[in-house]
Amino acid sequence: LRKTNALLSDLLIAALLAALVVDAGCNRGTRRGSAASSASSEIPGWVKSGDTRVFEAADLWKYVDGDAERYLKFGVQRVQTADYKFQNKIEATVDIYTMANAEGARKLFESEPAGDAKRAQLGDAARIYSQSLVFCMGPYLVRMVAFQESAEVSQVLLELGRSIEQGLRK
């Protein structure tokens, strides 16, 4: 595990992940940035519940041991991950995998079975399930997993996903 601020893309994603948590930031009395303000207006109710963790490709096994080889095959460079809560009802983990290029992200996405997924208009391609959402956009693959089941989970994940999509486009 290595926390890094070295790369611009890391900074952007870190800012994005932070931006999704402004409500938490407000609650805890922390400052919000401009990107955060932008995101907060789009996804009210979401708060961050833990630190952002960064795993470089060489250390990916420490996060997804046994699954790391699959990501490496498609050119993963690093993953950034953070936990969130929605209105104290729904908890979710967001992983943003940065691949070497868009082709790697797309192939990784396509390598996973769709199962009973529904398609979603998000990024370059997206699948949404009752408790999770996966999409690829450019060199990124974003995976969001919720830990509760309810009728609203997929909808609030989609809203969170749209905010992430907007952030990654900037």
């Binding site: 997804v64 041991d65 046994g66 790391a68 080889e69 199962g115 009973d116 997924a117 997993v145 089941e149």
Partner: protein, 324 residues
Amino acid sequence: LKQCATQAAVLCAATKLPLLGAVEQGTSAGKSKVVIAADPQLRGSAATVDSNRILSLLDRAMQSLYGLDHPGEPWKKLVRPGEKVGIKVNALGGRGLSTNVALVEAICERLQEAGVKANDIVIWDRDSEELEHVGFRTAWSGTRVQCFGTDRVGFEEELARYGSVGSRLSKILTRNCDVLINVPVLKDHDGAGVTIALKNMYGVIHNPNKYHPQGCDPYIADVNMLPEIRQKMRLTICDATTACYEGGPAFKPEYSWRNNALVVSQDPVALDYTGWQIIERKRAEKGFKTLEADKRMPRYIATAADAQHRLGTNDPRRIALVEV
């Protein structure tokens, strides 16, 4: 190994397993007993398991495994007061697909009733932060049950070697455990096919990332041959309350199901074989290819059972499967 009187006797002789831990292996001679205990009402109307019901489920599984009537009796067969007991959980899958805290609390309760002091019990995995992340409360001093990761104490300097494997072992295993109780999760695994009892020992070594090629074969079997693991391992209690049939080992709710069961055995190979079949049945039900067709058949299970390893049996004719 052929025509042996009992698989338990063979295992004890071949592996130097402590006789204290040996159960009546199977309902007939020569078989390894695997118990699947299920409770459809394990969660009631909630998403999380009910702590009272999982204690009852654990009791049912253990009493069936040992053939004993009272909930406390199996544990007195398993451990002695004064022994240090390590409970190796699996927190790698993160929230949603890690060893259930309520199950581990139930195990600790029964161990203490059997005379093991609370601070002689250590709940552990590779990383303290991961343990906390999935709901365990870490502690490494005082009189309560201990709980921490190898990150806190490190690995032995000297390599332990067997076959293809050379690894440094967690000091929790080497210095804090006389007895090992393995409490893995029933999961699909992208590389190995499945990860259940045997694969959970990757969390004991410093370099598991080196041992994922070739479907982790023969590495998983070789890791389990390391003397410190083999001699201390007494029981596997597989947490199959939530299980995963595809996309593992990370938690993907779309490929997980509430199985509401425990799978218990002293033979980790027989348990892995049984768990593999459970996952195959679920894959078939969901319209997925077999693991063999998906080029992920868990070959390491057969390797663990071969003449070189003899860690248990993968022959279904020699597994006494009991469902309670």
